[in-house]
């Protein structure tokens, strides 16, 4: 049965798309998580709605590229706004994110009701936007994802040093004369692009997970940025494929949520068994360590013998 699955054209398309999604969001998500901007994915996904609807209203077309372009536009606009609010007022990142996200989404709803007056508009698109419909991926969608994904990854590779510095020591970067504002914005833009690409597959809420969870899992195993980013991409891609396979084999299992369950399971396992810092390792260490301490103290030893 597995064999028929693997040779099935739809499965190949969807799982490739899902794998790409997992890979790209794993990479971008690592940076977002390290910069404490994990929920940017959630925010940007919601902020994309008015863009999607506007694109439709303005062009009358439901062509994927056009809708995605609209999503990108408002996603970027939202990111700019969040940055502006955070930098120029005492309102913090989390509040700015929540405001932009919900207000833009509300704007999208308003536009949607406006679009309802147009005769051939169809609101099935909204459902797809929120929950994603991985199974509806077409080959051309996947090709688009490949192109955009390759673009994103090459930019990341190109400016690796700058992004790394940005994540770990923005103040140092500023002192070195590198414009942190610019790089910060660039990284946010790349993240927005990654989100928009994945949006039609995973939907809004689930896109958040794909941006965060693989990175959280990878963090437990790696101490270097490059290994964390790579492992995060691997976890993301693997969840994409396994999730798609599982949802094809088991009836009535929607693809997007299944992928999330996969990656969350990977994260959970990582949190527990990662050597050295995992929960199990630490509990073992602590009880052994403390027992040793108590014994040593009792035997009159000093702190180091």
């Amino acid at each position: 049965m597995l064999r028929t699955l693997l040779t099935d054209y739809t499965f190949q398309t969807v799982s490739l798309g899902a794998a790409l999604l997992g890979l790209v969001s794993g990479v971008l998500g690592s940076f977002a998580v390290l910069r404490r901007q994990s929920l940017l994915g959630d925010g940007v996904s919601h902020a994309a709605l008015p863009g999607v609807v506007s694109a439709f209203l303005l062009t009358g077309s439901k062509n994927t590229e056009i809708l995605l372009a609209g999503a990108l536009a408002t996603g970027l606009l939202g990111t700019l706004l969040i940055t502006a609010i955070t930098r120029r007022s005492r309102v913090k990142f989390d509040s700015a994110l929540a405001i932009v996200m919900s207000v833009f989404f509300g704007g999208g709803l308003v536009l949607l009701t406006l679009s309802q007056r147009i005769p051939d508009a169809n609101q099935a698109g909204l459902s797809r936007f929120i929950y994603g419909q991985a199974s509806a991926l077409l080959q051309r969608d996947v090709i688009l994802m490949v192109i955009c994904g390759a673009l994103l990854l090459s930019v990341i590779l190109l400016f690796w040093k700058e992004f790394k510095l940005l994540c770990f020591d923005p103040q140092y970067a500023a002192a070195l004369g590198r414009s942190t504002g610019f790089w910060s914005l660039l990284l946010s833009f790349l993240t927005v692009l990654a989100i928009i690409i994945g949006l039609q597959t995973a939907g809004v809420v689930l896109m958040s997970a794909m941006l965060i969870t693989p990175a959280v899992a990878a963090r437990q195993w790696c101490t270097h940025l490059w290994s964390m980013v790579t492992l995060s991409a691997v976890f993301g891609a693997a969840s994409g494929v396994i999730g798609t396979a599982a949802s094809s084999l088991i009836p009535q299992l929607p693809t997007g949520p299944t992928i999330v369950i996969c990656v969350s399971a990977i994260a959970l396992v990582s949190l527990f068994i990662a050597p050295g810092r995992g929960i199990l390792a630490r509990a073992l260490n602590r009880s052994r360590g403390r027992a040793r301490l108590v014994m040593e103290r009792r035997d009159g030893h000093g702190p180091f013998n």
Binding site: N285, R286, G289, R290, R292, L293, V294, R297, G302, P303
Partner: protein, 242 residues
């Protein structure tokens, strides 16, 4: 014997398996100005937090004299952990010191407010009572927290490096306050970073470097031999040490 303010017994504190404090036995006498000194990373702040019950030790514990309740203990931390953008004024922060005395649902009364204001006056910050705290300088913020601890009307005060990085005005204010507190019979326990001023400001000292090197009156215990044991030869010669 209730002549002590705090008693520490067999205290060992560790982060995971890494010991930070090892087997500390200490009895701090009442109504004294106590300095806790030691090199960086020696566990001084950890000792303070353990005494305040903010940490759980691996072994041993801290006892206070019977009858001491939670609002008999005042704490002035190193100021970084507070939310400076919080919408609250200097007077408001000081007033929060009274919350331990009020019951669960009760509101601060006029007497509480008057006390808060007088505490602000004592540290010279009465003019800033309506200022939002982010608009204050570092030294001024420190003084507000001092006032808050005073407002608690505690019996024992714990301070974590109150003199670090403050301006001369604030430093003088803190020293004057210490004297006042001692005259009123309170105990003040201070993690202190500046060895030069220990004999001037304090009458009792505990030397910590993960273990207790020595503890006692400054005149008896604060000498070169103990200091070099504490700092393991990393310390330049001190003037004024006994």
């Amino acid at each position: 014997m209730t002549d002590f303010a705090v008693r520490v017994q067999d205290l060992t504190v560790a982060y995971d398996a890494q010991p930070v404090l090892w087997d500390i036995d200490l009895e701090i006498p009442r109504s004294s100005l106590v300095a806790i000194v030691g090199p960086n990373g020696a566990g001084k702040s950890t000792l303070l937090k353990a005494m305040l019950g903010l940490l759980k030790p691996v072994t041993g514990g801290v006892t206070f004299p019977a009858g001491l309740s939670k609002h008999d203990i005042g704490y002035i931390p190193q100021s970084e952990h507070v939310d400076w953008d919080f919408p609250t004024t200097a007077l408001d922060v000081v007033l929060m010191g009274r919350y331990g005395h009020l019951g669960l649902v009760r509101r601060p009364k006029k007497a509480d407010r008057a006390l808060a204001l007088s505490c602000l006056e004592k540290v010279g910050m009465a003019d800033y009572r309506s200022r939002q705290i982010a608009g204050l300088s570092g030294g001024q913020q420190q003084r507000v927290f001092l006032a808050r601890a005073l407002c608690q009307e505690a019996n024992i005060y714990f301070m974590d490096e109150p003199f670090k990085g403050v301006d001369t005005v604030t430093e003088k204010a803190i020293v004057a306050l210490l004297q006042e507190l001692k005259a009123a019979g309170k105990t003040v326990i201070v993690v202190h970073h500046d060895l030069q001023t220990v004999p001037d400001y304090f009458d009792w000292v505990a030397l910590i470097n993960m273990q207790l090197v020595d503890a006692g009156p400054v005149s008896e215990v604060f000498h070169d031999k103990n200091l070099s044991r504490t700092y393991r030869g990393t310390m330049p010669p001190l003037k004024g040490a006994v």
